[in-house]
């Protein structure tokens, strides 16, 4: 017999009330926690892949689409640009690196990206097995691609046209796997990397089918490319110093057939668009938590009226008023802790489902289930709600007249 045992027994005694209070708290806390998790992990994924890329150039169109397709590999490309124009940028003294990208095919939904070795350097990925491709039609797999597809070094596969795994198969030319990258947590994990020339080669052999591809023209090096007139999809640019940021994007947009998009600006724009929805959900979550607090309050207040005689009895048996106050406080705090824990579990389950969906659609994994520092504050907030909800009705304990209460029945 101790204080805790009595409090827990009281909670168990009114199971439905306790359940309702804990459920409301769990919902509110679960929502906020899920928002925190998503916010943090999306932010992390977005910032990590953006790092070191100052500008993206590609065909004219939506700058956000260009960023999403070229850096994150989640949207369709805006079109093609001549390689000559991209290469011309290398002569600009402000430009440090130019990484051309060429895409348009996939294997089992994983994008095949033609690029230069600078891309691998930029993302600092190491080869886990085998070696990096060094001839046309050789590929190196991202760690996740290798895991999901089951491809091994030395295996060959035919790519499909398009970016979502539903296009025609290029059956006549097969890629050969020469290496597999270590997991890096970056976009490379979900890509199949190869030389730029592989993409050109595979499509040079397909002249008869190019008409069929016209509706996909944006994704594809269409037409009849000769050695000099090669196209690429886009290019990632690094500047030597911030001065480049001031002049180059403007020059490109004015003087070339390409557009320049700045990742930091586009991603901030994307987040501010998402932000409205996140703010609304957060407000709803705070309302739910407040209702949970009121529910705990009403539950304890009602039980205090019912248990008035019990309280007087315990006082007559030697309990102090502080003891009874602590008893109610523990009941409130216990419900808060239960609500908090269920909320945290709920948010993890939510994240798991969200991650499943994100993985299917974009190959991104949001699999970080560890407790966030912000969630500690959430615990304190839950405890505060429980404590206040318990403390308010406890005032009645200090006004209780033992003799009159015991004499009433």
């Amino acid at each position: 017999m101790n204080l805790f045992k009595i409090s827990i027994a009281n909670i168990k005694e009114k199971k439905l009330n306790s359940f309702l209070s804990a459920l409301l708290l769990a919902l509110g806390i679960g929502m906020i926690s899920l928002l925190l998790l998503l916010n943090q992990q999306l932010d992390e994924q977005f910032r990590k892949n953006i790092k070191g890329i100052d500008m993206v150039v590609g065909a004219k169109g939506s700058p956000l689409q260009l960023i999403l397709s070229s850096i994150y590999q989640i949207d369709a490309p805006t079109g093609n640009v001549p390689l000559a124009e991209v290469d011309a940028l290398r002569k600009n003294p402000f430009v440090k690196t130019v990484i051309p990208l060429s895409m348009g095919d996939n294997y089992q939904g994983f994008r095949i990206l033609g690029t230069t070795p600078k891309y691998i350097e930029h993302y600092k990925v190491k080869v886990a097995e085998g070696h990096v491709y060094n001839a046309s039609m050789e590929v190196t797999l991202g760690s996740k691609v290798a895991r999901v597809s089951g491809l091994k070094i030395g295996d060959t596969f035919a790519s499909s046209h398009g970016l979502d795994g539903a296009g025609d198969v290029h059956g006549d030319r097969k890629y050969k796997v020469t290496g597999i990258f270590q997991p890096s947590g970056s976009v490379v994990d979900q890509l199949i990397l190869t030389r730029l020339s592989s993409i050109w080669d595979i499509h040079d052999h397909e002249k008869p089918t190019t008409e069929k591809h016209e509706d996909h023209a944006g994704e594809h090096a269409g037409g009849e490319p000769d050695e000099d007139g090669k196209d690429v999809t886009s290019a990632l640019i690094q500047f030597r110093n911030p001065m480049g940021l001031m002049t180059i994007p403007w020059q490109i947009n004015q003087n070339t057939s390409m557009q320049a998009a700045l990742p930091s600006i586009e991603i901030n724009r994307l987040f501010s668009l998402l932000g409205v929805g996140i703010e609304t959900l957060r407000a709803i979550a705070i309302i739910i938590i407040t209702i949970a607090g009121i529910s705990v309050f009403v539950s304890l207040y009602n039980s205090l009226k019912e248990r008035k005689y019990e309280m007087a009895l315990m006082l007559s048996l030697g309990a102090t008023r502080t003891f009874l106050f602590l008893m109610l406080l523990i009941e409130g705090l216990f419900l808060a802790v239960i609500g908090f824990l269920s909320g945290i579990i709920l948010s993890r389950v939510g994240l798991w489902f969200f991650s499943k969906a994100a993985e299917q659609d974009f190959h991104y994994t949001l699999g970080r289930f560890a407790l966030l520092p912000e969630e500690i504050y959430l615990l304190f907030a839950a405890l505060a709600v429980g404590a206040i909800a318990a403390a308010l009705p406890s005032a009645g304990i200090y006004r209780l007249n033992i003799s009159r209460t015991l004499a009433e029945e």
Binding site: M1, N2, M314, L317, G318
Partner: protein, 208 residues
């Protein structure tokens, strides 16, 4: 042992009670008989130190409590006085045995599980120890509340209408148990009632 001297209490100027002196030594029994409205419960609450008298004196075990602090009084009540109320009330969330142990716990005494089981056997509710108190009949509940009053081996046992809700057989049984158990621990037994069935059971009587 419990004694009172010149006890006076008033709820309002029109409703004032003046009580006869009470004197009940160790192992003795005393019946206080009175009709409704005579201040029976008020007197019991004064003796149980739940109310402070307007004037007069109560002493428990030879110690006068008129000049004590509220906390000291609460501790004396918890340790030396066992109270049995007209209708048995319990902490409904706890089981029968936990309700018994609660009185040890709140009086800051070691929790004596063996004693609780012993009393349950003596008073005939041993098979109900793990039930909730609401599952017991009124007679059983009254016996549990007697056991609770005995748990701390008090100096004085005060019973407020312990038999008024019971039938004749249960009434007889409860009063026998009360007398026997209080004699066993050497306590004074004071019963306040209007129940005429108890008239012949007690030699010492005070009429209000």
């Amino acid at each position: 042992m419990i004694t009172s001297h010149n006890l006076r209490f008033s709820y309002s100027p029109q409703k004032t009670f003046q009580f006869p002196d009470i004197n009940c030594g160790d192992k003795e029994t005393l019946l206080i008989l009175g009709q409704s409205g005579k201040g029976k419960t008020t007197l019991l609450h004064l003796l149980a130190l739940l109310l402070r008298p307007e004037s007069g004196e109560v002493s428990v075990g030879g110690r006068s409590i008129s000049h004590m602090e509220a906390e000291q009084i609460a501790l004396i009540r918890a340790k030396s006085i066992g109270i049995i109320y007209q209708r048995a009330h319990f902490v409904s969330a706890l089981s029968v045995i936990d309700n018994l142990l609660l009185s040890n716990f709140l009086a800051e005494k070691p929790q004596d599980r063996k004693k609780a089981i012993f009393l349950a056997n003596e008073l005939g509710f041993a098979e109900h120890l793990n039930k909730k108190t609401a599952q017991l009949s009124q007679g059983e509940q009254q016996r549990v509340s007697i056991a609770r009053a005995l748990m701390n081996e008090p100096n004085v046992i005060l019973a407020d209408e312990p038999t008024s809700n019971l039938d004749d057989i249960n009434c007889q049984r409860v009063i026998e148990l009360l007398k026997m158990q209080s004699a066993l621990i050497g306590a004074s037994l004071v019963v306040v009632t209007h129940d005429q069935r108890l008239k012949d059971e007690f030699s010492n009587q005070v009429i209000l």
